[in-house]
Symmetry: C2
Subunit: 204 residues, 2 copies
């Protein structure tokens, strides 16, 4: 099994577990889930077939680990973009900007793993995970809006829940357009305008 904590004896691994998962992320990201074969993962992760099965399990298990790691990393960066001390407007703009930038990064596939790729996987566990992640993202935004109320950036009757969901939907739209090849420049401009939209009557 995975002798990660108490591995002392035996031949050491020639690969880094975290690094291999990141490489697997790129594989799924660019080829979807069904489109990926074990051979793709063997080639992309730089891990031999038997080691891959022993350490990670089958394709589904690998994808779930990839998804969790991706969500954790992405969530942390999104939270950082949102809660860096700055005006509410800059926070929302920064959140959308980060989404666009990570969805159009050079070297990796376009779009977002959780928005574009994972929803196509007809799997109950993946489904639940995505729903939780979605509501988690909306709650993060909602909290930021509430902080904005406390700071006096927006009035107390600002529809925090509604706007939070709308920002996530706009982010989803931007990610999907990134996937089909819309230029980063266009998307960054649209992200700015989306920020203006959700804060329209409140100039902050």
């Amino acid at each position: 099994m995975i002798a990660n904590t108490a591995r002392l004896r035996g031949r050491p691994r020639s690969f880094d577990e975290t690094g291999a998962l990141e490489k697997a992320t790129q594989v799924f990201w660019s080829k979807g889930y069904d489109g990926v074969t074990i051979d793709d993962l063997v080639a992309g992760m730089g891990v031999g077939r038997p080691s891959l099965y022993a350490v990670f399990g089958d394709k589904r298990a690998i994808f779930l680990r990839v998804l969790r790691a991706y969500a954790e990393k992405k969530g942390a960066l999104a939270a950082k973009a949102l809660f860096t001390p700055q005006s509410l407007r800059d926070s929302i703009a920064g959140f959308l900007k980060y989404n666009v930038e990570s969805a159009t990064e050079k070297g990796s596939a376009r779009g977002c793993l959780m928005i574009c790729v994972a929803p196509l996987v007809n799997d109950a566990e993946v489904q639940r995970f995505l729903q939780n992640a979605a509501s988690g993202g909306a709650m993060l935004l909602e909290r930021r809006f509430r902080d904005g109320i406390s700071a006096g950036d927006i009035p107390p009757d600002f529809p925090v829940a509604v706007r939070a969901v709308q920002v996530t939907d706009l982010a989803r739209g931007l990610a999907m357009r990134a996937r089909i090849g819309t230029p980063r420049k266009t998307l960054l401009k649209d992200a700015e305008e989306a920020t203006d939209l959700v804060l329209l009557p409140w100039r902050v």
Copy 2:
């Protein structure tokens, strides 16, 4: 070959070409593109393997035909929802409502073929098709906004192009949330609120 136009002699087909394509749509819609096998299509379309190859071609060709037919049908219905004589607000609300309803229809898979499924297909022709469809949809909305200016529903300085793109992004977000299992009721409510958002300072 396809003896559709000048077919007079010979055994008539036991299947309807259009109907078979609609059944194929459901197959791709629910299982993605890479996830479907020829056997899935044979079973789902009710067409024998040899006939399927003779009439439609291989999987890729079938998907492209499905995609075109779907886009045509969906585009026509979206245009109908948008340009039925009514207030601008009701038009936009109707457009979003139609998107949500078709993305949460019972009996078929959730989401939208063009928004959720096709973007995962790494194929140049599909990519181009989706970009054209996307800009076509935005242009449709833009025209409706301009009609709204002519009718006096919104002022002449209304940012038609920007709002048109924002509506498509919101629709994309709604479709993706439909895909991951968000209830129709929630999405319909959010569609209404999205309408209010894009027309916020303009009570029409």
